[in-house]
Symmetry: C2
DNA sequence: ACCGAATCATTTGGGCCCGAACAGTAGTCG
DNA sequence: CGACTACTGTTCGGGCCCAAATGATTCGGT
């Protein structure tokens, strides 16, 4: 190595160092540290999981995380309309259009406009798409299990419950103001 | 409304319905449901938080989530080299280059190559950038607190600890194979 | 003093991501 | 029937995202 990696400016920051730096900039009183820690760790963990599963499992099939999620919801529900697929996958309809175009070009999925309502578009897995999911999902699920293997059963259920609470409070108050009582869509896997 | 939103195909899926659909496709025995639930809920929660904070706090300043995170780490450490900024922000150096270009164009940040090592580039907040963060961060932190207000103090610390465990086990084994003993960078706010 | 290896930031190319604007389709109500 | 309204999926524009390749710079060893 060209350098020992620990001599220059701050690289490895302890929590105490970060707290001190924060206090120096924002003032000791008015900062909610546990909330800041939780949010940043949450986002970092989600990206770490996504990145890990993508690189270890999905990349071999030429799939992205989002592409896989879309395939998954279409697979599990034996076909889906675009609007439901977008909601279940947790992405916007605009994004879904592009992702489906990619998956369609890869031959995993087909798109056909509905006969009864010509506004709708039905998504269905191709034969090779279904076969691929049947082979891929067990490996993906095993990798999921591996990712959470560092947590006890109790810690895992607590984690999921807390996260679900946050999702419920956020998705209940954010968008979709047209129907005040908004349902909670658990997305894939739950 | 044109339709009652609840009559057509499957939209509101209960957990039991999803489990049943999964079993029908993957086989009852070999699926780790708690792990799948945890991973999907984790990712969905992270995106919900990101989306909420972006729309309620950041959008008013013309900032994206990633742009804000980069500004934050540069702010809190009184300037940073790009490699450290990328790692602290949890994004690749390639992504950072583009984000910094955006922030530079908006006048929040400046870029200048180091004198002692001309490969390095130092990032510093402009005067207006520092002033903006001083005004913005309290609002952002308040929104963070609001997002986790549905959890008890105990649940929040447990959540953060579990997530940190996952991050540690993932970032310790994923990339950066050059230095086998990799440190754990807590990112912003932690 | 040189040369090869390591490290840095950037560019390139392909894909995801969303809000806003859009055109097409369906239901409603006079 | 003919507006009017609501809902559909798509397109557009701008930004984020990363792996791989590139060019510049530095370090270590000879």
């Amino acid at each position: 190595m060209a350098r020992s990696y620990d001599d220059s400016v701050p690289d490895r920051h302890s929590l105490a160092e970060i707290e001190q730096a924060m206090f120096a900039h924002v003032g000791d009183l008015s900062v909610n540290l546990p909330a800041a820690n939780a949010v940043s760790t949450l986002y970092r963990a989600a990206n770490a999981v996504r990145s890990h599963l993508t690189n270890t499992v999905l990349r071999g099939y030429g799939l992205t995380w989002t592409g896989f999620v879309v395939l998954w919801v279409v697979w599990i529900w034996d076909g889906l309309e675009t609007r439901h697929a977008a909601e279940s996958a947790g992405i916007s309809k605009a994004t879904l259009t592009g992702v489906v175009k990619t998956l369609e070009g890869q031959g995993w999925i087909t798109r056909e406009t509905s006969d009864v309502d010509r506004r709708l578009v039905n998504l269905t897995l191709t034969a090779s798409g279904a076969a691929m999911m049947q082979e891929l999902y067990p490996a993906f699920n095993a990798a999921e299990a591996d990712v959470v293997s560092c947590l006890s059963t109790r810690a895992l259920t607590d984690l999921t419950r807390s996260l679900r609470l946050m999702v419920a409070s956020l998705e209940g108050t954010s968008l979709e103001r047209t129907d005040s009582r908004r349902h909670i869509e658990p997305a894939r896997g739950a």
